[in-house]
């Protein structure tokens, strides 16, 4: 695993997120559920808690966009870049953007929203890319069954270095 230069991390364990728009590829409820499950991947192994807000400020702002979508990092149409996210910080920091030229899916082998969101939220929390094939933070997308998905030891070590372990 690796972290961003300077190891940016959130200085709190209760984080808020907001979904500002949706993809037409999935019912909104399915998107909400994929996002919730993606955050749970990380909250299951750390002391972090994620709370959804609908208005006002949120630490992590989530949205779908095409091509240039307001952050100076344009998407590239279908394929190649699927999404990106920003390391913890103010403003764009922590935000996650998904390329709406992709075909997002819930369970099928198209681009699985849960898997990509879990990866992007790793960035939102301070993890950079891992060169371990099979790790969630490996930069290349590969499909695994979301129902049997397990966070790799590499990802776990990375996130627990930043936030510590989950405590009962």
């Amino acid at each position: 695993y690796s972290t961003f230069p300077g190891n940016p991390r959130w200085g709190k364990t209760h984080l808020t997120y907001k979904i500002v728009n949706y993809t037409p590829d999935l019912p909104q409820k399915k998107v909400d559920d994929a996002i919730r499950r993606a955050f749970k991947v990380w909250s299951d192994v750390t002391p972090l808690h994620f709370h959804r807000v609908y208005n006002g400020h949120a630490d992590i702002v989530i949205g779908f966009g095409r091509r240039e979508h307001g952050d100076g990092n344009p998407f590239d149409g279908r394929g190649n870049t699927l999404a990106h996210a920003f390391a913890p910080g103010q403003g764009l920091g922590g935000d996650a953007h998904f390329d709406d030229d992709e075909r997002w899916s819930e369970f099928s082998r198209e681009v699985n929203l849960f898997l990509v969101a879990a990866h992007e939220f790793g960035h939102s929390l301070g993890l950079a890319h891992s060169n371990v094939r099979g790790a969630l933070m490996y930069p290349i997308y590969s499909y695994v069954n979301p129902e049997t998905f397990r966070l790799s030891e590499d990802d776990k070590r990375g996130i627990q270095k930043l936030y510590g372990k989950f405590m009962t």
């Binding site: 690796s2 961003f4 230069p5 990092n73 998407f75 394929g79 190649n80 870049t81 699927l82 999404a83 990106h84 996210a85 390329d99 992709e102 681009v111 990509v116 990866h119 992007e120 960035h123 950079a128 890319h129 060169n131 094939r133 930069p139 290349i140 997308y141």
Partner: protein
């Protein structure tokens, strides 16, 4: 004057595509850092555990075309 000469066997499209990929995902970290295109390809190949040749072989090209996250692979 060009600092990165295109290998003779490459088409312009190959060269532009590889350079765009490396600029995006393996950016030169400092303004003073000067690496040849071959060295930059080697860096990418090492990250993905590919055979390190510094050349745009089929394995490397295939990796560059895979769907992926838009965040760079090396910390800028």
């Amino acid at each position: 004057f060009p600092t990165q000469l295109k290998p003779e066997s490459w088409s312009n499209t190959d060269f532009e595509n590889v350079k765009a990929y490396l600029d995006k995902f393996f950016p030169l970290v400092t303004k003073t850092q000067s690496l040849t295109l071959e060295e930059r390809i080697k860096e990418m190949q090492r990250f993905f555990h590919l055979t390190v040749t510094g050349k745009l072989n089929a394995e490397t090209e295939e990796t560059m075309k895979k769907p992926r996250c838009g965040v760079p692979d090396i910390a800028g």
